[in-house]
């Protein structure tokens, strides 16, 4: 059961400082959403996150978890209900992976069997081998440590998680993989998550909602990633989001969410007349040759269709094959890489489900609402 989180006029002034670190911050995070706190360094995003579990005391205002103030119980009791991960991970070097993961369940007094089962389940969930349970943090790679850190935060199945740049200290490739892994898990777990990052791209990728903070802990904008990219409220947000914000919107949508072009698909041995009829109906100048399983074989040129029957091989390779789960940005990159205007989109079995073109992507960029696309033809897929 996920908790809703609510900031009500929360301020923080550190002792000995005249300037407030956080100023009258109010926002709500619906249960099950990832709320990303983002902003330049010194904007108080980490302070904001740390006030939720009272690692930083609240100067004024209220923070409510499920409608209940975080101040109405002992700090250590509150913290045991909230998953906590930090950039440096903070695994205990003297404890094994299993013992690290078991930290909060042990504090909560779970029976040993239940703890052991939970550790096993978490190792599985994070694709870590079971024999890693007995190893020490120093024996793990950076990515593995990062996974153990998140597994430890999830150990007691808290309804809310605080994550301070959890994927910050690792190489970009591993980071991308961990982000995807985490998003997939979050799809099942539906935790309420407060996620701190300084990286706007990570914010756009991870966030259901993004709170952009500016210096002095002032909330500049609180919006969904799409709103933020389409309509930044002021020059600061616009600047922070970046001049390429239009392009960043391409990271918001997956290929399968686009109304793809219908591919004029033919199989080897089909009559050429049938191929030509389909082609006349299509936005594409060429027919796509597919095999018996519906996998793309290549584009058929006019020369390929000179005979009576469709040949077994096509003149032009059908590359790139775009994964329906890619985001548009990556799909566009693949198209540009192959120096082509369009490519077949395949599902997880490799079957063609439609065609994505640069023209479609351009239409998406021109549209105000990213979900409103007016494709020339819907990608009807016949079996």
């Amino acid at each position: 059961m996920a908790a809703a989180l609510e900031f009500q006029q929360v301020s923080k002034t550190y002792p000995g400082s005249d300037e407030p670190a956080i100023q009258s911050l109010s926002f709500e995070v619906p249960a099950g959403d990832i709320c990303v706190l983002v902003g330049p360094s010194g904007c108080g995003k980490t302070t904001t996150m740390r006030m939720v579990n009272r690692m930083v005391s609240i100067t004024s205002g209220e923070i409510l978890l499920d409608g209940r103030s975080v101040l109405d119980r002992k700090a250590y009791e509150l913290r045991r209900e909230i998953g906590y991960t930090i950039q440096q991970i903070g695994l205990f070097p003297h404890e094994t992976v299993a013992a690290n993961i078991a930290t909060v369940p042990k504090l909560l007094g779970w029976p040993k069997d239940r703890i052991r089962e939970r550790v096993h389940a978490l190792l599985d969930m994070f694709s870590l081998p079971q024999d890693m349970a007995g190893r020490y943090p120093a024996q793990l790679s950076g990515g593995q440590r990062q996974r153990v850190g998140v597994a430890r935060a999830l150990a007691s199945d808290p309804s809310i998680m605080l994550m301070d740049e959890p994927f910050g200290a690792i190489d970009p490739i591993t980071r991308g993989r961990l982000q995807n892994e985490f998003l997939r898990l979050q799809g099942e777990l539906r935790k309420t998550i407060v996620f701190v990052t300084h990286d706007i791209d990570e914010a756009i990728k991870m966030g259901d909602r993004i709170a952009v903070l500016k210096k002095g802990g002032v909330l500049a904008q609180y919006a969904t990633p799409a709103e933020l990219l389409l309509a930044p409220v002021d020059a600061f947000v616009e600047d922070f989001v970046g001049a390429d914000r239009a392009l960043k919107r391409l990271a918001l949508l997956r290929v399968r969410d686009v109304d793809l072009w219908k591919a004029p698909r033919v199989r080897p041995g089909d009559p050429v007349t049938q191929a030509q009829e389909q082609l006349a109906d299509s936005d594409l100048p060429y027919s796509l040759l597919i095999d018996a399983d519906g996998k793309p074989l290549g584009w058929l040129s006019d020369r390929d269709l000179a005979g009576e029957r469709v040949p077994d091989e096509a003149g032009t390779a059908a590359t790139p094959r775009l994964d329906q789960d890619s985001v548009l940005r990556d799909a566009l990159a693949e198209l540009l890489e192959e120096d082509t205007q369009y490519g077949p989109v395949v599902d997880e079995r490799g079957t063609v489900i439609g065609v994505l073109s640069i023209e479609l992507i351009a239409q998406f960029l021109a549209s105000k609402d990213p979900r409103e696309l007016d494709p020339p033809e819907r990608a009807g897929v016949e079996p």
Binding site: P93, H94, E95, V104
Partner: protein
């Protein structure tokens, strides 16, 4: 009691063979006299060392824990234990005699006070060396201050603490040889009893060295057992 009464205990043994009358190194004499002359003082010496290090450790560790939470105490405690550390050891035994009399108590007070500085410094340094992010994660997950201390900081300080105890132990084995000034027994009485006779000095001194090595080895073994992660990190 005076110096004379102390040295009155020293016996000049009867020297039978040539080797012995030349004050040489005489294996025959050693074999014949080892059991009667050296075994009891050896165990007495060991007793002095173990009790003194244990007492010193308990005091220094307790002080270390207190000073870890109240950092302002570190300076004064190091100053005070440093003063104790600089008192010449023979003087310490003799200064204590009028107060606590001759015997074990005096020896233990003097010997354990020499261990305080070494162990205290290592305890404090070890506790402070726990990685800040481990401490932050511990607090953030809901460990209380005491749980952070006992489950995170103390275990992580063990290598430093062991290092301190090992130095303190080796030092104490040596210093305990002076405990006979407080009439507390040990191998020192034998060494100083006949400094001229090589066989005696070699055996009594050698036993001190063996004791120091064995105790250090045992402590190293205990350290390895209790800090398996250190070796895992190096592998």
């Amino acid at each position: 009691m005076s110096w004379l009464t102390l040295f009155a205990q020293v016996q000049i043994h009867h020297r039978a063979s040539d080797c012995e009358s030349n004050n040489g190194f005489c294996p025959d004499w050693i074999i014949k006299n080892f059991g009667d002359r050296y075994v009891d003082p050896f165990f007495r010496h060991l007793e002095l060392v173990l009790i003194s290090v244990l007492v010193g450790f308990v005091i220094a560790f307790a002080l270390g824990i207190v000073a870890h939470r109240r950092r302002w105490l570190v300076g004064p405690v190091i100053g005070l234990t440093g003063v104790l550390y600089t008192i010449p050891s023979v003087a310490a035994f003799l200064l204590l005699v009028p107060i606590t009399g001759f015997g074990l108590l005096t020896a233990v007070i003097a010997l354990s006070s020499y261990t305080l500085l070494i162990i205290f410094r290592n305890v404090v340094a070890g506790l402070a060396a726990a990685p800040a992010e481990a401490r932050d994660a511990a607090l953030g997950m809901g460990l209380t201050d005491n749980q952070v201390l006992w489950r995170v900081e103390v275990p992580l300080a063990l290598p430093e603490i062991f290092a301190g105890v090992r130095i303190a132990t080796t030092t104490t084995v040596g210093l305990a040889a002076l405990a006979f000034f407080a009439n507390a027994g040990g191998l020192g009485g034998l060494i100083f009893g006949d400094l001229v006779f090589k066989s005696n000095v070699v055996v009594a001194g050698g036993l001190c060295i063996v004791m120091a090595f064995v105790l250090d080895g045992l402590l190293l073994f205990a350290q390895r057992l209790s800090t398996p992660w250190v070796r895992a990190a190096r592998a």
